[in-house]
């Protein structure tokens, strides 16, 4: 994807579509969905908490794929994709931890606890903050890309651990309420809650791809500046 394609007509359509879904998602999450039987209204944080972490997982999966492709083919566009996805993944992981903390206070009585899932999510955030720092510290673009790709691939391996942590350890964080192996989602969760969650998930996905297209445009333009400067110096 070139910068112009990403930021052109399709990019704008994606942006407007995301805005519509965000507005509809807010209505469904804050007004239409009923309060939870046990937690009351505070459970409404779930409608942004689950989409945030799933978007972060998707972002780090894109880092993983982009990094593997870069190490294999050494094409700049794969590195730009991985670096762009890492930056947005960090944003969504940080937001997930903040939302979880705000949800944890009225539900568990604490803002933070060293629970397995929370700790592994914090480690994921640290790995990818480290990824961005490492990249900014290495001046040589190719060396930065190779080092970043290695960290990106290793960092992604934390995600299966986060997912399985609620099964492997006795933790405070509850196991999945919706994707349970023993019950269909609609047997366990009110349909209005499922609809609100689905709409918010689509809103986050659209927003994510819009942000990614803009971030790729930044990376692509910066890359062209470097190439122009090198050509001018030669």
């Amino acid at each position: 994807m070139t910068g112009k394609e990403a930021g052109g007509g399709r990019g704008r359509i994606l942006g407007w579509l995301a805005l519509v879904f965000v507005a509809v998602g807010l209505y469904f999450a804050l007004i239409h969905a009923p309060p939870d039987a046990n937690q009351g209204d505070v459970q409404r944080i779930m409608y942004i908490h689950i989409p945030s972490i799933l978007t972060a997982y998707l972002s780090f999966f894109i880092v993983f794929v982009g990094s593997c492709l870069y190490l294999w083919k050494r094409e700049r566009r794969d590195d730009i994709l991985a670096k762009s996805a890492a930056e947005i993944g960090v944003l969504f992981t940080a937001l997930t931890i903040i939302e979880g903390s705000i949800w944890g206070k009225p539900t568990w009585g604490v803002w933070w606890t060293w629970d397995a899932r929370l700790t592994l999510t914090a480690i994921l955030l640290m790995i990818f903050v480290g990824y961005l720092m490492l990249r900014s510290l290495i001046e040589d673009e190719e060396r930065a890309a190779v080092s970043g790709a290695i960290v990106g691939i290793i960092g992604f391996l934390d995600i299966p651990l986060i997912h399985m942590s609620v099964y492997w350890w006795r933790t405070l964080h509850q196991p999945p309420s919706i994707l349970r192996p023993d019950k269909a989602p609609w047997d366990n969760v009110h349909p209005a809650m499922l609809i609100a969650l689905a709409i918010n998930f689509v809103a986050f996905l659209l927003l994510y791809f819009y942000l990614l297209s803009l971030r790729i445009r930044v990376g692509d333009t910066e890359d062209r500046i470097r190439r122009e400067a090198l050509a001018g110096a030669a």
């Binding site: 930021g7 009351g40 947005i88 705000i102 949800w103 803009l214 122009e228």
Partner: protein, 50 residues
Amino acid sequence: MGKWGFVLLAYGIVWSAILAYLFHLKSRIRKAEAKLTQVKSKGSGVKHAS
């Protein structure tokens, strides 16, 4: 803080952060494209001079 207070705090932080990041990206695009135009014009100036 009441339960709605926690909900509004979470939604407020999330949407403010996403909006701030969106505006930050738009500003980075504007700056990068201006710099690219500048670098290109310098490059063409060098070519004409030689």
